[in-house]
């Protein structure tokens, strides 16, 4: 294995500067009110192709993973069963105003693939749980002891054919957020 050789080469070659550590994360977020954060979040989510909705408006009844019994039922479900999921409801941790992203992690998901394999993803998010920027978001996340986490900011999309935007490349075709 080349670990030793590589590290030796790095030690030999790296710049011998007395450089300080890059300034610690000292970025202060804009002082947006909760209301402003919410409206920015909605605007940015929609720009990324996400929708804002209510439970009553939903056309199909989602598999509700905010319910413990359904989470347990799907925790060991085989891929074939998951592949038949039309619509799922997941509780989001928090949102980010500047880009409309929502943080999900292992404890919110019966299986990691669910937000991707379902045709429609519905995320319920508490309107007060929206931070201003990604700086705030990364200060909030605690990955210790978590195996996986993801920011989702819209449906799956691609523009690989002549830069034409198409939703639903591989993951969910539709993302609806219920605030």
């Amino acid at each position: 294995m080349s670990k030793k050789t590589i590290l030796q080469a790095i030690r030999r070659n790296k710049p011998q500067s007395t450089m300080q550590s890059a300034q610690e994360d000292n970025y202060r977020s804009p002082s947006w009110s909760q209301e402003e954060c919410k409206s920015l979040f909605i605007k940015n989510l929609q720009l990324q192709g996400g929708e804002i909705g209510t439970l009553a408006e939903l056309q199909t009844q989602p598999v509700d993973f905010t319910r413990e019994d359904l989470r347990a039922e799907y925790a060991n479900a085989p891929l074939e069963k998951l592949n038949r999921l039309e619509s799922v409801l997941i509780e989001g941790n928090f949102g980010v105003a500047e880009n409309g992203a929502i943080w999900l992690e292992d404890k919110d998901l019966p299986q990691r693939i669910i937000p991707f394999i379902t045709q429609q993803l519905i995320i319920r998010l508490h309107p007060s749980a929206i931070v201003a920027t990604m700086h705030d978001a990364y200060r909030k996340i605690n990955l210790t002891g978590t195996g996986y986490g993801v920011f989702i900011s819209g449906p799956s999309k691609t523009a690989d054919i002549e830069q034409c935007l198409v939703y639903g490349a591989h993951g969910a075709v539709k993302l609806t957020v219920i605030l």
Partner: protein, 459 residues
């Protein structure tokens, strides 16, 4: 590819409507980037911070790599180190054989392109399915990506429609992007569900937490990683960031600078394998540690592969990614390529306008490095004889006052009086596709002598 950038570019430009479309489309992406950047009042501060973090990483790379490895192992991942492409490919093959895998999916990774992983595995009887839509298209067509973020930007929808008709049985003549994307979705969904191993690239690796971060819009990295029991993440050793909070800076910059989106649809953080799954991380050197030693070019190791310099480059937009011949095209590719062996003309495929440096999210002075490369290649006689002689002659001409005056006069006379055939002899490579300007009546020196206002007053 043995032909030069200029020859390849001429071929690309022969199809003028396509070349114009390519130029305009990438310029639209550049404009989207400008709009996204202007939306962030502290944009310049973010670039500064990103650049400072990368400086810190490069100065302490060994420390952060070891910290990362320790944290990743603690998370349950297995970490491998590869000195070069051959070792990397062998490590990948060993993992695949260990798990007796037949069905392998891969999301975008420029590193695996750089190391020729697909080709190597194919030679060993292992098939890898690229799952990014653009990459799947070019894989069907046996082509290389022409852009690091938009791999199929060189193709028109009709060509993709034909490819899909042949490979996926879509309707002949149907090239509707939504129709074709749905067909690819169905085809690749089957591949995901059958996958035993999923390979991804890495956008960022955090030393503090041992996590790797992958950004996609399609969700193909996660469809693969979360379907397959085994996940392998391949990273160049410069992908390290010290702290989780550094991700705040880089996730704000990356998508905005790449496509003008505020963030990619999915920003995934992989820490631990799935229950009963396995997670591997392969750290690759392949020339990177050697570049650390060179203060002139070390900055190129800061690159986060956003593709912003390609979208803005007047030469890239008008010559296409394939014209470069190196796996990473455009301005950044022209400083990353191993020139002295294979790509001595790439640093000359630039107008040195500096637009690449202006948009670079980590403030690499790309155009200055291109300029340095030109000088180095000239010194090592890696450039054409004609170019070296022309430079030598120009040096002599410009180094003496009288020589300069005389030659100026000769040139003014020659441009005005010599027949076109003589002026545009094959040695005048500058004149291919360019017109000489009209020769002025007198030199600026002569003009100044008669028109200098201060002289007029005193005399």
């Amino acid at each position: 590819m043995n032909s030069t950038h200029a020859e390849n570019a001429a071929q690309f430009l022969a199809d003028e409507p396509r070349a114009n479309w390519h130029d305009e489309t990438l310029w639209i992406v550049r404009q989207k980037r400008d709009k996204a950047a202007a939306n962030i009042p502290e944009w310049e501060r973010l670039r500064q911070q990103a650049s400072a973090i990368k400086d810190e990483v490069l100065a302490n790379l060994d420390v952060y790599l070891e910290q990362f490895e320790a944290a990743a192992i603690k998370n349950g991942a297995t970490v491998f180190w590869a000195a070069d492409a051959a070792e990397f490919n062998q490590i990948m093959l060993n993992i695949i054989r260990r798990h007796k895998a037949k069905n392998i999916v891969k999301s975008k990774s420029m590193l695996t392109e750089e190391c020729g992983l697909n080709r190597f595995l194919q030679s060993q009887g292992v098939e890898v399915v690229d799952t990014d839509l653009g990459e799947r298209i070019i894989q069907f067509r046996h082509e290389a990506p022409s852009h690091i973020v938009l791999p199929a930007i060189h193709l028109k929808r009709q060509e993709i429609g034909e490819t899909f008709h042949e490979k996926l049985g879509t309707e002949a003549g149907n090239s509707d992007p939504t129709y074709l994307t749905r067909a690819a979705r169905k085809h690749l969904r089957e591949k995901f569900l059958a996958a035993e191993i999923a390979i991804t690239g890495v956008n960022f690796a955090v030393a503090e937490t041992g996590s790797v971060v992958v950004c996609t819009n399609e969700g193909n990295a996660d469809m693969g990683v979360q379907s397959a029991p085994v996940q392998i993440h391949c990273m160049g050793l410069e992908k390290i960031l010290p702290r989780q909070t550094d991700l705040g800076v880089f996730t704000r910059l990356l998508a905005r600078n790449a496509t003008g989106q505020a963030v990619t649809s999915y920003t995934s953080h992989y820490m631990q394998p799935k229950p009963e799954g396995a997670m591997y991380i392969v750290i690759v050197d392949n020339g990177r540690s050697a570049r650390l030693a060179n203060p002139k070019y070390i900055q190129s190791l800061k690159c986060i592969r956003c593709g912003g310099c390609m979208n803005t480059c007047p030469v890239y937009r008008r010559s296409g990614g394939h014209s470069y011949g190196y796996v990473i095209p455009g301005p950044i590719g022209s400083i990353l390529a191993p020139h002295t062996h294979h790509y001595p003309d790439l640093p000359f495929a630039s107008s040195l306008c500096g637009s690449c440096s202006n948009v670079c999210p980590v403030k690499i002075e790309i155009h200055e490095q291109l300029y340095h490369w030109r000088q180095d290649l000239m010194q090592h006689r890696q450039t054409s004889w004609l170019k070296r002689m022309a430079m030598k002659a120009t040096g002599i001409a410009l180094s003496g006052n009288r020589r300069y005056n005389t030659l100026g006069a000769v040139a003014r006379w020659a441009v005005a009086h010599l027949p076109r055939k003589l002026l545009y002899l094959p040695v005048n490579t500058w004149g291919v596709g360019r017109e000489l300007p009209q020769a002025p009546q007198q030199s600026f020196k002569a003009w100044y002598k008669t028109n200098n206002p201060s002289k007029k007053q005193t005399s």
